[in-house]
């Protein structure tokens, strides 16, 4: 049964990708992209990758189609007919040849799902067997993410932070001191969305609460800072969509989000420095308290918090930057 679901989902994924190649018009492409995200999240679920599916769900459900929609709202939804002739033939040839070579390459791989493949026998057994005793939390993904490979995660968080800074710098208008300040704070709202606003008022607290649950339950079940940050930002974005950008900017001012994005990275890094000062390697938490297991627990909690703060504020800041492009400019 598992294999069957797997095959059907993968076939649907291929069908969606083919549809994306054929379809013209950007809104249609965006909708197919969101379908593609939903399908890949379902696929990750059948593969037993709960945390990955969770992240894909959090990102693919709200933020990623919205950013594409915002861009399309700025640039228009038309797409020119694809070029035919030589370009098409050349690219088809390139794609087919590369694909054929890659397929020949897959024949050397160990069969799918085999327990004695090299990937399964390298470090993974160590993580699975030792993490319970060394780290003391049930979710091995979180313990690898936040403790064994914390240095790697620090790099990823820095990349996210840098991407946020880059978006703010690219989209900032020159007259506003290089930051994502609001262009004009009094945008007349069109028709009021009474139904949507009431439902939003009911759902947004639950979304934020769920984000906190995901943040702090990440050691025992699927979840963690990355997912929680994205879900929190989705709640903020929903608020912004329903009540207008000026309102949400009053609640969470853009400068505060920028500071918070840096603060999260700082929390992460300072935890590493703390362990350095206590005479252990960078980001080795076991010296932070008397009992190494408790210390690991504290360390993981703190850096997950840092990750969550950074991700939530970077995505909110990106949303501000894009939404700011949409508001009618002062002319």
């Amino acid at each position: 049964m598992e294999v069957l679901i797997d095959i059907v989902l993968l076939s649907l994924l291929v069908a969606t990708a083919v549809a994306l190649v054929m379809v013209r018009g950007l809104i249609a492409s965006i909708m197919l992209t969101s379908v593609y995200g939903l399908l890949s999240a379902s696929f990750f679920v059948t593969m037993g990758a709960v945390d990955v599916a969770f992240t894909e769900a959090a990102v693919g459900a709200g933020v990623s189609p919205l950013l594409l929609l915002f861009t399309v709202a700025v640039i228009g939804r038309k797409e020119r007919a694809p070029e035919g002739g030589a370009v098409l033939v050349k690219s088809l040839l390139l794609v087919v040849v590369t694909g054929a070579l890659l397929i020949v390459g897959t024949l050397d791989m160990p069969p799918f799902g085999s327990p004695d493949a090299p990937a399964q026998t390298h470090v993974a057994p160590y993580y699975l067997q030792q993490s319970g005793a060394e780290i003391g939390i049930p979710n091995v993904v979180t313990s690898v993410l936040a403790s064994y490979r914390a240095y790697d995660t620090l790099g990823e968080v820095l990349v996210i932070f840098t991407a946020g800074v880059a978006v703010i710098l690219i989209l900032a208008s020159s007259s506003h001191r290089g930051s994502a300040r609001l262009r004009n704070a009094t945008v007349p709202d069109g028709s009021p969305h009474t139904i949507l606003q009431v439902v939003g008022k009911i759902l947004i607290p639950f979304i934020l609460l769920f984000a906190f649950y995901v943040q702090f339950h990440g050691e025992y079940g699927p979840g963690g800072g990355f997912q929680a940050g994205v879900i929190f930002a989705s709640g903020v974005i929903l608020y912004g969509l329903l009540f207008g950008l000026p309102t949400v900017c009053r609640v969470l001012p853009p400068p505060v989000m920028e500071v918070l994005a840096a603060l999260g990275v700082l929390i992460f890094g300072l935890t590493g420095v703390m362990s350095l000062l206590n005479g252990a390697p960078f980001l080795d938490y076991s010296v932070l308290a008397d009992d190494p297991v408790t210390a690991q627990h504290i360390g993981i909690m703190v850096i997950e918090l840092g990750v969550g703060i950074t991700v939530a504020s970077v995505i909110t800041a990106i949303y501000y930057a894009f939404a700011n492009q949409l508001e009618p400019g002062p002319n």
Binding site: H193, I195, L196, V199, I202, L203, F206
Partner: protein, 113 residues
């Protein structure tokens, strides 16, 4: 007792699946956009409720039951809202319903235009 529960759960899942199929049929066959929204939205709500109820009856511990109940609650909130928002968006973009003969000739309410 447990056999009764199992039977009820199976019945719920079966009816829910059937409703999903009818919704998909309506989505595929109706020729007006608003009729399609209606077909999807209405069947979807009841089908989701039935399927989640069926799953609820199958579980024996409290945490999954609680989560399923929450999922049901949120779907009941968000799914009609999404249909509403979509219909409103289509109306804003100038899409008008068709009458029985397939023309988009339904007169607009006096407040519009």
């Amino acid at each position: 007792m447990s056999t009764i529960l199992a039977w009820t759960s199976d019945a719920c899942l079966l009816v829910g699946s059937f409703l999903l199929l009818t919704g998909a049929l309506g989505f595929l066959r109706f020729n007006d956009f608003y009729a399609r929204i209606h077909a999807c939205g209405v069947t979807e709500t009841l089908a989701t409720a039935l399927i989640i109820l069926g799953l609820l009856l199958q579980s024996d511990s409290a945490t999954p039951q609680f989560k399923l109940a929450l999922i049901l609650l949120f779907v009941l909130f968000s799914s009609p809202t999404a249909s509403h928002a979509l219909a409103k968006a289509a109306w804003n973009a100038g899409l008008r319903p068709r009458d029985n003969s397939g023309k988009r000739g339904i007169p607009l309410p006096p407040r519009e235009r």
